[in-house]
Amino acid sequence: MIDLSQPQRQSPLAIVFLGLRAVRSLGVVQFVVLALFVVRGAADGRLLVVGVVAASGLAAMSVLSWWRYTFQLADGELVVTSGVLRVDRLSVDVGRIQSIAIEQELLHRLTDLVKVVIDTAGSSQAEFTIDAISRRVAEALRQQATTLAPDSPRVAPIEPARPAERVVFQHTPGRLAIAALTASPWAGLALLVPLLAIDQVVLEPITDQLSEWAPDADVGGLGWWLVPVVGVAIAVFVSLLNLGRIFLADWGLALRTDSTTLRRTSGLLSRTSTTSTVARVQVLVSRRNPLQRWAGLHDLHLSNVGQGDMRLVGCRDDELAATATIAGLTPVEDLPLDRRVHPAEIWLSVRNTTLIAAAAAAAGSLLIGWWALFAFALVAVVWWATRRHVRTHRWSLGSEVATSRLVISSSTQQALIRKANVVRVTQSIFERRRGLGRVEVVTAAGTIAIGMIPIDEARAVRDVIVHGVETDRRAWM
C-alpha cells in the first residue's frame, strides 16, 4: 500500500517530460529550425555556446522543477506543491474532483509510466497534471481519492477499472480510412505547415536536387494535357496527407461514457484521452461535405466549457444520434426543423456583392480592361449560394435551439436552451426597414445565431430562452 499522505515525487524520468514541455512552450518548430541551422554549419562557435548554455539551463530548470513538484493526499485534500523560484501550493478538496484521467503518450509507453490529469468542478480546464508516475502510484491515487469521497459520484473512475463505463463507439482502421478519404481535401495540408516554416532548410535542398536531375525540364512546353494529371496527383497527395493526419491523430478513436462523463481516446504514436462531464457540453455541431454525405459519415464537434472540446471524425448516423442523446440533445433526424429564414437575405447578399464587384471591376479595368467585368460573375455565384442557403436553412426551438444549413457542405448546430449565458437580439439598418432581426444564443462555449427572421419572432425566441434558463434548474456546466 502506497502511503500518499506523505509527499510523493514523480518518477525521475519526469525530468525529460518537463524538459519537453518547456521546449513545446517555446516552440518545437523554432527548435527544429535552430537545430538544422546548427547542423548545416550556418552558426559560428559563439551561437553554439549560447545554445549549449541555454540547453544546460533548460536541463537544470527541469531537474529543479521535478525536485520541487510533490503531491500528497492529506485531510481530504489533494495538495500539490510546485515552483522553483516561487513556490505554489494548490489544495483541492477531493469532493470537488470531477475526473481523474490516466493517459499514456508515446514516451510514457516506452518508459512504462502514465500521466495523471485531474479536473475539478469550478475550473474551466484541467486543474493540474502529474507528468510521469508509475501506474501503481496513479491507481493508488485514484483509489484513495475515491475512498475519501465515497458517496460522491463526481469522482469519475478511470480506465481500466471502470465497470460503469461503456463504449459508445470505436472506429476501426477501415472507418478511419474512409473518414480520411472523404475529409476536406485541404485539411491534410496542415501537416505541411511545419515544413513550410522551415522551407529554407528542408525544401530548398530537395528543389536543388530536382534541378540537378532534370536541368532541361520545360514546364511551359508540356501542354494542357498535363493539367488533369497534375490535378489527380494533387488529389492523391492531399488524400495521403489526410490519411496520415487522421491515422496519427484519430487511430483507435473511441468515445466512452458513464452516467456523468464523456471520454474520448485516440492516437497512434501519442495516445490522448480527453475527459469532460456531460454537463460541460454546450454545443454539438455536425458537419458533412458531399463526399461524407455519400459515405454516410459526419464530423462531430462537442464544444465544452474550458479546453476539453471533442472532435469526432467519421461518425455514422447512429453514432451521431447516440452522442447527441448522451449530451441531452435530440438526434438530428428527430429534430422538428420547420422554421425558415426570410428570403431578403438573398437580396442583401446580391446587393452587397454587386457593390463590391462594381468597385473591383472599376479598379481592375485600369489594369486588365474589359476582362475586369468578370468580377460580376461573383454576383451569380453569391446569388446561387445564398438562394440555396435560404431554401435549405431551417431552425427550431423547443427544449433546445437547433439550426441546419446546406449549401455545398451541410451542418447542424444544437444547444440546450438552459446552456444559454446571454441572448442577443440585433437589427441592422437593412433588417429594421423590413421588420427583421437576428437572435444569437451565446453559451459558455459557442454561439448559435439565427438571422433574417421577423423581429417579433426573434424577441419571442429570446423570451422563451430566458424563461427556459430561469426555470430549468438542471446543471448547465
Binding site: N421, V422, S428, D463
Partner: protein, 196 residues
Amino acid sequence: MIVMSEPFRNEPIAVGDLPQLRADSFVSVDPRFVWGQFAGLAGIAAVVVGVVALIVWRSDALFWPVLVGGIIVAVLVAISIAAFLEARRLAYQLREHDLSLRGGVIRHRVETIPFSRIQHVSVGRGVIERSLGLATLQVSSAGPDIAVPGLPVADAERIKEVVAARAGVDDEPPVDGAVNDWAPPPSPPPSAEPSP
C-alpha cells in the same frame, strides 16, 4: 453533475404568455455619460493638437503634420458623434430574473443575461467617471460579459447588490423539478437552533 431528483417537466407554454422585454421599460443611462465620453475624446484631441503644434514649432514642416493631425481630429469628431448617438440609445432594464442592455447605432442590439448565469458582478469607476459621479456596472458570465456604463454611483451599487444577491440565490441547491413561475426566490428556512 446532473441533478435529477424529480423527472424534469417541460409542459407547453404559450409564447405570448411569457414576460416580455418591453421597450418602454428601459432606463436610459445618465446624460452625464455623454459628457464623459466627450471629455475623453477631447483629451485625446488636445494631445494630438499639442503634438502637431510641437512638430510645427520644432521644424519647418507644416503641411504633413497639420494634414495628419486634422485627419485624426476629424476621426475623433466622427467618433464623438457616434458616441453621442450611442449614449442616447444606451439603456438597461432590470427584471426579476435578468438584466438587459440596449445599445448600438447602426446595428441595434439588446443583450439579456439571466441572473443564474452571472459569475461575477463589479462596479468600476475611471477618472472621468469619478469626476462626474458615474460608474460602470460590469457583469461577467461564463460566456460574454456585459458592461453598463454611465450609471450614477448609488444606482450602480444598488443594482450590483440586487444582481449579486439574486445570482447568489441561484447558487443554492436546485429546487425539485421545473418551476414555471416568476415568483421571487424562497426565503431561507428558519434556523434549527433557537437563538440565545
